[in-house]
């Protein structure tokens, strides 16, 4: 067991002892168990999977951030993060449609990187919320 805290500017989402953690590192998904070597990595948008016990599993959508592990303490600094069951599917869906539409328009003042990032975020949230229900 090790301590996991997930914080975002909006709130402290999680602060508990957990068994394992799977996080979307910028170089690919990575798993953390207790006594993991010290690690600092940036996170991409994706799914966080937390195992609290043998059969208690929680998933959360993260839009990017950082993860530090040291001394059996894992800290996730997330830009924004939500548990799967909290995601407002309707809102995520409309954000997804909006982002897609914006990319399709190809107007000259379109910020491509931002629009793509928005699309990816919305897609990620939809996927995680959908996987739960």
């Amino acid at each position: 067991m090790f301590r996991l805290s997930i914080v975002s500017p909006a709130r402290v989402l999680y602060d508990k002892e957990v068994k394992s953690l799977i996080a979307p590192g910028s170089e690919g998904y990575l798993g953390v168990l207790s006594d993991h070597a010290p690690l600092i990595t940036s996170l991409a948008a994706g799914k966080i999977t937390i195992k609290e016990g043998d059969d208690i599993e929680r998933t959360a959508a993260v839009s990017g951030g950082f993860l530090e592990v040291s001394d059996n303490v894992a800290t996730i600094l997330a830009d924004s993060v939500e548990f799967a069951e909290e995601i407002d599917v309707g809102r995520a869906k409309s954000a997804f449609e909006r982002a897609k539409q914006r990319l399709g328009l190809q107007s000259p003042d379109l910020d491509l990187t931002r629009a793509r990032a928005a699309l990816k975020r919305a897609e990620n949230r939809l996927k995680i919320a959908g996987g739960k229900t």
């Binding site: 805290s5 500017p9 010290p38 600092i40 990595t41 940036s42 040291s70 800290t75 600094l77």
Partner: protein, 288 residues
């Protein structure tokens, strides 16, 4: 002595002022609650971020990012966080006084101001020290896009070499009744790496992808977080101070009404007495 009608008008006027101050007190209380919640949710994030940055710097043994670069200081910038509106006691004047004190050791050539909030902008607009940029009209709320713009402005100016050092002047929120005026160096980032325990420097950290790219990703968020934190703290202090000031104003208005009512009653009584005397003496005269 003022006439009864004058007194009545006075009482009515003070009464409506009291209503306004009471309403403002309540609005501030509500805004303060929100601002406080924001700080409470924000502080852990900011603290963890500073912690992580410290670990990253000590463990990687390098701070290879322009945000850390110490240059000979030719130009300094001071960012002042004040409120847009007044009626909050000595909140803004304290901040402005502090800014004036700070600027005394500089000249208009080597110092510039970035004003956040109408109060500081309006004050410094007419003074010798140039205001490089100002952000106003927050309506007592956090405005993320303005905070982003401010961060962008500051970091750009620092990176381009226009400014060599940036300070933030804000109020740290302690409680509803107290805040502390705080001056903090923003850029270059002054971290006390010595203070970070050796535990972390001794440890072999794994970096993914590598320290430099993590710095690259972490520092802009850090710069942003710091500005937002200062804004959040200042907002909460502002609302707290305004709530207290308006509470005092409401109490004073109440006292004033009491006093005026007393005076008015006395005046009315003496008027009645006078009338009675006139009637009685008139009657006596008729009798006689």
């Amino acid at each position: 002595m003022a006439t009864i009608r004058d007194l009545k008008n006075r009482i009515r006027a003070v009464g409506s002022t009291k209503q306004i101050t009471k309403a403002m007190e309540m609005v501030s209380a509500a805004k303060l609650r929100r601002a406080q919640q924001r700080i409470e949710s924000y502080r852990p994030y900011a603290e963890k971020m500073i912690e992580m940055l410290g670990h990253l710097a000590t463990a990687s043994g390098q701070v290879s990012h322009p945000f850390f670069e110490e240059r000979p200081v030719k130009k300094t910038a001071l960012v002042i966080f004040t409120s847009d509106r007044g009626l909050c006691g000595s909140y803004n004047s304290n901040l402005i006084r502090k800014a004036e004190e700070f600027s005394r050791s500089y000249t208009p050539e080597n110092l510039e101001l970035i004003c956040i909030g109408r109060r500081s902008r309006d004050y410094f607009r007419r003074r010798p020290i140039p205001v490089a940029q100002s952000y106003v009209d927050f309506a007592g709320n956090m405005d993320l896009s303005k905070m982003k713009a401010a961060t962008h402005f500051l970091t750009e100016r620092f990176l381009s070499g226009d400014i060599d050092r940036i300070f933030l002047l804000y109020t740290a929120f302690l409680s509803t009744v107290s805040y502390r005026i705080t001056l903090k160096q923003y850029l270059p980032i002054a971290m006390e790496f010595g203070a970070t325990d050796e535990k972390h420097s001794a440890k072999e950290y794994i970096f993914e992808p590598d320290p430099a790219s993590i710095f690259q990703a972490l520092l802009p968020s850090y710069a942003q977080t710091l500005v937002q934190m200062c804004m959040a703290e200042s907002l909460a202090s502002e609302h707290g101070t305004r709530m207290i000031a308006m509470g005092a104003a409401t109490r004073n208005a109440g006292e004033m009404i009491d006093n005026l009512t007393l005076v008015m009653n006395k005046a009315r009584q003496s008027a009645i007495t006078k009338e009675l005397l006139e009637i009685v003496s008139g009657a006596e005269a008729l009798k006689g």
